[in-house]
Amino acid sequence: MRADLDIINEWVQPKSRVLDLGCGEGELLSHIIGNKEVQGYGLEIDAAHINQCIENGVPVLEHDLDKGLDNFDNESFDLVVMTHALQQFRRPDLLLDEMLRVGKECIITFPNFGHWRNRIHLGLKGHMPVSEFLPYNWYDTPNIHFCTFKDFETLCQEKGIKILRSAAVDGQLRDRWWIKAMPNLFSETAIFHVSR
């Protein structure tokens, strides 16, 4: 499993009610439904992913997240998760508000644009970073709102969102001292567990 999913798996409370926004083929959900007995639902818009979830028995609902989460009641989930998708939405800040309305807690992961490799790409080569991890060109990327580990902390501060814990991973590496010491420079993926 992807390193960020591995960490989320550790953070999820057993038997909780979880909503996974942009659940893909349901990798995380199928794992936590099986291991933590959570009652989980995924929201997804990609037809192939939806069919894969159905085939795998992961509850999945076709849903356009750009239209918000109006159909879900306040605090109707213990946890709302969004992995590697926040940066793809028109207004990540508003979506974050919605996530924290529907869920008592949220876990968000995103590619940290402050990673040293990105800095070299932009700072020395003068090009927008293209890597195995972020394989798109600037004109066809779905990632329209890149941010860094630090940027997200600032947003939480401004919105009065509590950061319960955070983690940083670099590829499959985690818990290395240098990543922990300087997550903004060394984490490829940032993981935040937040609440109101």
């Binding site: 159905i54 085939e55 999945v60 609902l61």
Partner: protein
């Protein structure tokens, strides 16, 4: 006419009739002392009697869902593209049952059959039956066939309402539910359409308050009109536009009230053809059954409360251009199921065909159905193996 039966067809099928002597209490307060249900089955029931799938038909459907009755049939059953060996509702794995609902005109007891108490055709005297009554009668058919629990119950439109009712009324008796292009209750607009359909039938001078059989006539015009109206609402603006546009029968306008546009001809043909195969009283009754369905009413409109008893896995499918049973209506059911904490998946399928899309073999729709029923089948195998150990 099939020159030979396709390999993925269930082939030639013979309808069967089950007779019931035990009176059935109906929602309207009366009871049916005895009745017949006509049904077809495809595939074979396994030793554990656990692989049965019930298909619930919609307004104008019947028990003939798949295969052919004879080699010179022009068309196979109404859902042949989804039912058969290797098809999404795979008859090499599942035992599929489809019946004609009570009040229908396909051979089950209804307005066109003889009331044994009077020896007259029921006609307008046939009581209005509801979705709840249908589910009750379907459960009795299941009892008779020795099926305690269905692997799945599947239906589109009005058929989907029956599936929903099953999940509430007999939660122990189905493992999974497939509800396609349906709604938890009709919208005001839908009831309004149904009322126009009924009025066009009942205002036909040949209707005779529903006793046209006794007068040896048929309200053809009224039933045809009802169907024309219904047909328009089953298609999308685009699909009707693409099919006919403003194509005309003649080179120039005729400046009279005969057919100018091809769409007029098409509708007239559809109306006419329908009167040859369908009964007006049944149409009246089926539209009422649609209007009356509202399971949430029992819980002050809280559908999730009503669904809290459900035990099965659900799959819901809607179609983007369906405005008669729009995706938002399916989403009401989905939201209620999520709120109730049920296992549910939902696909909103892009389709140009409007409400009719549920009868088309659209790849994404068929794949969702296949995937969901594959899983149903795998779970069945797993529980069988567990039982054997």
């Amino acid at each position: 006419m099939p020159d030979n039966i396709p390999a993925d067809s269930v082939g030639i099928v013979v309808p069967q009739v089950a007779h019931f002597d035990q009176a059935l209490s109906l929602s309207c307060g009366t009871e049916l002392a005895q009745y017949d249900l006509i049904y077809e089955t495809y595939g074979s029931l396994n030793a554990e009697r656990s692989n049965a799938i019930l298909i619930c038909h919609a307004l104008s459907g019947d028990h003939h869902a798949a295969g052919y009755h004879a080699m010179d049939d022009k068309k196979p059953g109404w859902w042949d593209n989804a039912i058969g060996p290797g098809k999404p509702i795979d008859t090499s794995r599942f035992y599929v049952i489809c019946l004609n609902n009570l009040g229908g005109c396909g051979g089950s007891t209804g307005p066109t059959t003889v009331n044994p108490e009077t020896n007259q055709v029921w006609g307008a005297d046939f009581p209005i039956v509801t979705v709840e009554d249908w589910v009750e009668s379907q459960a009795r058919l299941a009892d008779k066939l020795g099926i305690d629990t269905f692997a799945a119950i599947v239906g589109g439109s009005l058929g989907g309402m029956q599936v929903l009712q099953w999940s509430i009324r007999y939660p122990e008796r189905l493992k999974s539910a497939v509800i396609i292009a349906s709604a938890p209750k009709l919208s005001t607009q839908n009831i309004a359409f149904n009322e126009v359909a009924r009025q066009s039938i009942s205002r036909d001078p040949e209707f005779h308050q529903g006793d046209y059989h006794a007068k040896q006539t048929l309200p053809r015009n009224g039933l045809g009109l009802a169907r024309m109206l219904g047909h328009i609402t089953y298609l999308s603006t685009d699909s009707l536009g693409e099919k006919f546009g403003r194509t005309m029968r003649h080179d120039e306008y005729q400046y009279n009230y005969d057919i100018d546009f091809e769409v007029e001809s098409y509708l007239r043909y559809q109306g006419e053809a329908f009167t040859k195969r369908f009964d007006a009283n049944t149409y009246m009754l089926m539209t009422k059954a649609l209007d009356y369905f509202d399971p949430a009413a029992k819980a002050d409109g809280d559908l999730s409360k009503v669904l809290s008893v459900a035990k099965c896995d659900f799959l819901l499918v809607s179609f983007s251009t369906d405005w008669r049973f729009s995706p938002e209506r399916s989403e009401e059911i989905v939201d209620a199921l999520v709120k109730a904490g049920k296992h549910v998946s939902y696909a909103r399928v892009e389709a140009s065909q409007g409400h009719d899309a549920f009868l088309f073999p659209l790849p994404r729709y068929m794949a969702a159905l296949t995937g969901f029923l594959n899983r149903t089948h795998n779970k069945l195998l797993a529980s069988t193996n567990k039982g054997a150990n």
